[in-house]
């Protein structure tokens, strides 16, 4: 009996493609963000409000993942930025190869920001690196404040928690401070914004976070290039 050490990641092929994507994003100065949540937490609504608030000639594009339908892409195309739907046909997450394939006919040199809306799922997307600069997790106030403790992986790996649908707080027994505390138990450095895409409260903080990330990403790219 011989024991051969393998010592590599199970998803090494996905990670290889993700590393290539990350290098390409870096080379072209594209900030890539991977947005993850349960189905129905408001990822698409957050993207609608975001695209609506950006200047018309901003260099932004969106990839949106679902198991079936073009519905989300149709909702997001109204804002006249490049949008592409990724239908996985049953797979519960996006992987790096899907991103690579769907980026094939876009010129990265024309982009500054790529927003990826993952398939609605709080578990599986956390295992697949898409080459993003950061993951963002969205949690709506109808889901329960203990979700960060029940699904720690995605909260651990995300830089930002967007607590969404805060307009519903008067009607649901959701302790928003407990939710923030639970998220920080799993990830002490977690940044948190609270938004309502309906009455637009908190969207300014989200847009500020996004602008700050874009600003911080630029010098990084220039430093790498020089």
């Amino acid at each position: 009996m011989d024991r051969v050490p393998l010592e590599r990641k199970v998803l090494s092929e996905n990670d290889r493609i993700a590393a290539e994507l990350r290098a390409r994003f870096q080379e072209h100065g594209v900030l890539c963000l991977n947005i993850i949540s349960s189905p129905g937490s408001g990822k698409t609504s957050l993207l609608e409000r975001t695209l609506e608030a950006l200047p018309p000639h901003d260099r932004v594009a969106v990839l949106t993942g679902d198991i079936q339908t073009e519905n989300d892409a149709n909702r997001l195309k109204r804002f006249h930025f490049p949008v592409k739907q990724i239908t996985t046909g049953g797979t519960c997450h996006l992987d790096a190869r899907m991103i690579e394939r769907h980026l094939a006919d876009w010129r990265l040199e024309d982009l500054d920001l790529l927003l990826i809306e993952n398939v609605g799922n709080l578990v599986c997307p956390s295992s697949y690196d898409l080459g993003e600069a950061a993951k963002i997790v969205v949690l709506s106030v109808t889901e329960g404040e203990d979700k960060p403790l029940k699904y720690p992986s995605i909260f651990f790996k995300s830089d930002l928690l967007v607590l969404s649908k805060i307009d519903l707080l008067p009607y649901v027994p959701f302790d928003i401070e407990a939710a923030a505390e639970n998220a920080r138990k799993v990830h002490p450095e977690m940044e948190i914004v609270k938004v309502s895409c309906l009455n637009r409260h908190g969207l300014h903080e989200w847009m500020m976070w996004l602008a700050e990330r874009r600003r911080a990403h630029k010098p990084l790219v220039q430093q790498t290039a020089s």
Binding site: V4, L6, R8, V10, L11, E13, S127, P152, S153, P188
Partner: protein
């Protein structure tokens, strides 16, 4: 539920590795799974058994090592296992600690046996079966 994809990736890695070891067959593949990796080990075993069923690798065992979340204190250097999400340092109580492991999803080892070896029959009958209630 992406354990089927993970099981497929493990099996692909075994097949690739076996190309480097002619004259042998694989007995057991070992994986390390961190508590933050979002993998259910029973589901992974179930998927693994399903995809090797009635293939040439049907006697391949899956060894799973679960890895706890470990942090290192930025002040005193103490390394410790995080329990109940308490990531403060048990030695100096500092809250400035850094995660050093716990999100593993790694292939650890492959055990191979030469064809014709006397343990062939014995090994294939020692398949680990997940306990299901």
């Amino acid at each position: 539920m992406h354990e089927m994809g993970i099981a497929n990736s493990v099996l692909e890695a075994v097949r690739t590795e076996m190309g480097l070891h002619p004259g042998t067959y694989p007995c057991k593949v070992g994986v390390r799974i961190g508590e933050l990796a979002a993998i259910d080990q029973d589901a992974l075993r179930f998927c693994f058994e399903a995809i090797i069923h009635e293939t040439d690798l049907k006697s391949l065992q899956l060894g799973i090592e679960l890895c706890p979340r470990r942090h290192r204190c930025q002040l005193c250097g103490c390394e410790f296992i995080v329990r109940d999400y308490d990531s403060s340092c048990p030695q100096c109580a500092s809250l400035k600690t850094t995660c050093i492991s716990g999100d593993e999803l790694e292939l650890a080892y492959l055990e191979v046996e030469e064809y014709g070896s006397s343990t062939f029959g014995a090994k294939s009958s020692q398949r680990e079966r997940p306990h299901r209630g």
